[in-house]
């Protein structure tokens, strides 16, 4: 491994000025991607600037939604009760990312900035309408996460800029979200395909949702949908690994948004999602299979989101 100097700034300003003054510098958080890349000679920075000792990158703010600092490790995020309750898709991803050892060092900011098509937290943040907060020379700016991913490994930020946090809006309680990571084994694997969904129902449907729950219909949700004309106020569907970047399947979303949820609209959404996907054949999986799985996972995440939305109304 190539030698580098390691810097430990205590503030964002210090980090930024180090980056500006040093030749061939790179920020590092958990290091689970950066160090691997250096070892594999994919990059060879002369200076690594650690972001781990900057307290402002570890904030958790719980008013009008949730703000989470970029340097929080996944294992810490798992402990935030609000994520588990209101942002289930993100919680799902946190439980499945890497291994416990990785979750104990890797940060959410790193996962997003590395911008791998398989990044576990990417699809959840996409369906949760996250805003990326970025600090740079010109101050702080916000970018919707959908505009932040540009391609494999590339994001909409200057190299000197630092992602400081993610802001998640607060959703009405008749909202549910879910993330499913499809892998060959139960742990320690990258996603072969992944999908996240969020469904927000209309406020006036709350009593209907309560009826649905008490009918026990949730156990066979897809079959029961026809008995409960639920209106989808907002739908989000995001897919991972089946395109150069994690992306929102917006055509699929529009099959549901502003419509009643039933077998037909659900099927249309899944098929549209599969059409929007551009999977490739790789050693990790074949394209035809990945496309098929987009349908399966889209359906499963939507149904799981619906189930969670219903349960929130109990």
């Amino acid at each position: 491994m190539k030698k580098f100097d390691y810097h430990i700034p205590k503030s964002l300003e210090e980090a930024l000025s180090l980056f500006k003054s040093l030749e061939n510098a790179k920020y590092i958080a958990g290091g689970t991607d950066v160090l691997v890349n250096i070892k594999r000679k994919k990059e060879s920075p002369s200076h690594l600037i650690s972001l781990r000792n900057i307290d402002s990158l570890k904030v958790v703010e719980k008013k009008d939604g949730l703000k989470i600092g970029s340097c929080l490790i996944h294992q810490e995020l798992l402990k935030i009760e609000e994520i588990r309750t209101y942002y289930s898709a993100l919680y799902d991803a946190l439980t499945k990312l890497g291994s416990k050892q990785i979750r104990n060092v890797a940060t959410i900011g790193g996962n997003i900035c590395n911008a791998a098509p398989s990044a576990d937290t990417a699809c959840p943040l996409l369906v949760l309408d996250a805003q990326v907060v970025i600090f740079g020379e010109k101050g702080t700016r916000m970018v919707p996460i959908d505009d932040f991913f540009e391609g494999p490994g590339t994001v909409a930020k200057e190299e000197s800029e630092i992602v400081t946090s993610f802001e998640l809006p607060s959703f009405p309680k008749y909202t549910g979200s879910a993330y499913i990571k499809h892998t060959r084994r139960e742990a320690m694997d990258l996603a072969m395909v992944s999908a996240a969904s969020r469904i927000t129902f209309a406020a006036e449907d709350q009593s209907l949702l309560r009826d649905f729950l008490s009918s026990k219909g949730v156990e066979e949700l897809d079959k029961e949908l026809k008995n409960y004309p639920l209106f989808v106020k907002e739908a989000r569907i995001a897919l991972g690994v089946v395109a150069p970047r994690p992306f929102r399947a917006k055509k699929a979303e529009s099959c549901l948004e502003g419509k009643f949820l039933n077998e037909e609209t659900l099927r249309e959404a899944c098929e549209k999602a599969a059409e929007e996907a551009q999977p490739r054949d790789t050693i990790r999986g074949e394209a035809w299979y990945r496309r098929e799985m987009v349908k399966v996972l889209t359906k499963r995440t939507i149904l799981l989101s619906v189930k969670r939305a219903i349960e929130m109304c109990s």
């Binding site: 499809h182 060959r184 084994r185 139960e186 742990a187 320690m188 694997d189 072969m192 050693i283 990790r284 999986g285 074949e286 299979y289 098929e292 799985m293 399966v296």
Partner: protein, 716 residues
Amino acid sequence: MPISTQIDKIDAYDKVLGKAKYASDFYMEGMLVGALLRSTRPHAHIKRIDVSKAYSLEGVVRIIQAKDIPGENSFGIIRKDQPLLCDKKVRFIGDPILIVLAVTEKVAKEALRLIEVEYEDIEPILTPSDSERSPILIHESGNLLTHKKVIKGNVEKGFSESDIIVENTYITTWLDHAYIETESGFGYMDGNGRIVIYSSTQNVHYKRKEISRILALPEEKIRVVQATTGGGFGGKLDMTIEGYVALSVYLTGKPILIRYSREESFLVSTKRHPLYIHYTTGAKKNGTLCAVKVSIIGDTGPYASYGETVCLRAAIHATGPYEVENVYVDSKMFYTNNPISGAMRGFGVPQIAFAHETQMDILAESLNLDPLYIRMKNGLKRGSKTATSQILEESVGYLETLERIKPFWLERKKGKDRGFGLGSMFYGMGNTGITNPSWAELKLSSDGKVVLYTGVCDIGQGSDTVLAQIVCETLGIDVSKIEIVRADTDYTKDAGSTSASRQTYISGKAAYEAALKLRSFLEREGFYSGKKLKDIFEKYKDMGMPVFDGFFDPPTTKLDPETSSGKPYATYAFATHMTEVAVDSSTGYVKVLKVHAAHDVGKAINIQNVKGQIYGGIAMGIGFALMEEFVPGKTKSFNTYYIPTSLDMPEVDVFIVESEEPTGPFGAKGVGEPALIPSAASIANAIYDATGVRIFELPCDMEKLKLLLERKRERG
């Protein structure tokens, strides 16, 4: 009672405390580190090698080529067809060409990039069928490594008497051993000019023989010691780093360390043989097997390694644990320019078990018989005649393994997308139809302990503990009273390899024999009437402490060259697994939920070790059945080679059957390979039970099963 009771593995504490010394932990002042330049071509003549740029790199000390080898530039467990360093021709991607010795591993690896090799490509042969037909020869002797037959009765007559004939083709692929410790070795020259090697190995005496040939030195000038070894599964039976370390020590006089990275290990370690099995079974309406005809074609890669063993062992075990009157097995191994196939837990039997167990289930279904019943009806028992016409006289616990599973089989309740499958096996203990002896020695030490000198390599399977238990049980002493000197060619006699599930049975018996001699000595000396071991030692120390040795070579016979008739093994282990799976029919994902595993081990010397082997075998079987696949040229590391994790493990209930083997120590046989063999077969049968889809090719990964499920749905 030291045997059959819960006892901690005696090597466990050193390992968890980090005290155990693996080969890579060795260091000596002035040590050089070696790295190997490997072929980037599957098949090519070497036209030119230019090392001048590499020599100019600071820190490079020596570059060793084929021409520097003082003795024979070849090795191989059976056939010496593998060059230590290639000089004229390379036969697979990864074939070694030269060794760079440098002051650090980093410099050595950097130097590799500065070496230029000019190749003249030869068309590579990538399948056994191309190998059979092609005029291009991988070795001058031809592309067929070996051809074996097992013949009993008249197979055509058997088919003519059959009411039903089932015929299918089964395919398996390359698997990696995936041991936790990659190949590693350290060596130096001692004060007397002898070469000492510490390596991660399954056999020290064989390694010494090969080094002696390569260096043209008498064996007395070489000492091979087993360093603590992190797994083997057959992959450390062939020479790995030993020859390179020894040659480097010989040429430089310096201490040398050579170790493989995980990527290098994946590239060059031997793999499980891919087998193409065409299997035809004939049976009566009542389920009685009349005839079995099998054709096995194997890909042995560019060098023989254990290809001959796998070819013959797969053929001998082709019927499975069933008595069949008429058998004809034709088994061939071809050279190719793929990775080297070699020994891997079961020597071809896990592959053939997948075939014979699927055949049994298909037969049962076609005849409307219960899968357990048809196994019971045909199962080997005392007095049965195997495919090699061996009469089984003792220790045939197969039917009992079925009996132990039976209550759970009969009570099984199938949920949606769930299924149950059976898998059975038999497995011959020790090498096939050849002598494979072992020696052990016992002495008393000055501090009043018994010292066992054994050549057995404990690679994690627990032979140290088991041998200690056998000796202590025989002597009536506590396990704390024994010390072990293990696998060191200077101090221990040849115990043969840690392979073929043979060490508990064969070396255990040798240790037992030695212990019997020591016991009668101790009786005479009054140990059992209260005299202390220390005092007995004191009495003899001046006149020389006697050594008590034990020897055992299982009674086998040479096999008939045409029919393979004879007694290839003195005894067999038997097992049955019942596996429950859940199948996600939308994705093709299979989760193994529960395994009931019944194993006839003769006698469980150490119950925890027996269970450990079975758990590990099941884990490996899940990999074989569902996810493991080495793709030559593509699989580089664990990044794309999937092995099951602890979360993929099912709940396992072990049932130990003890049909004692009279020639074994306390009746013991072995379990190392049997633990794995029925696992994949039972999973494949369970998938059928859950989905109605038959699996003929492993691994049955998600894509493959999804495709099969879709096809079935289309057919309606």
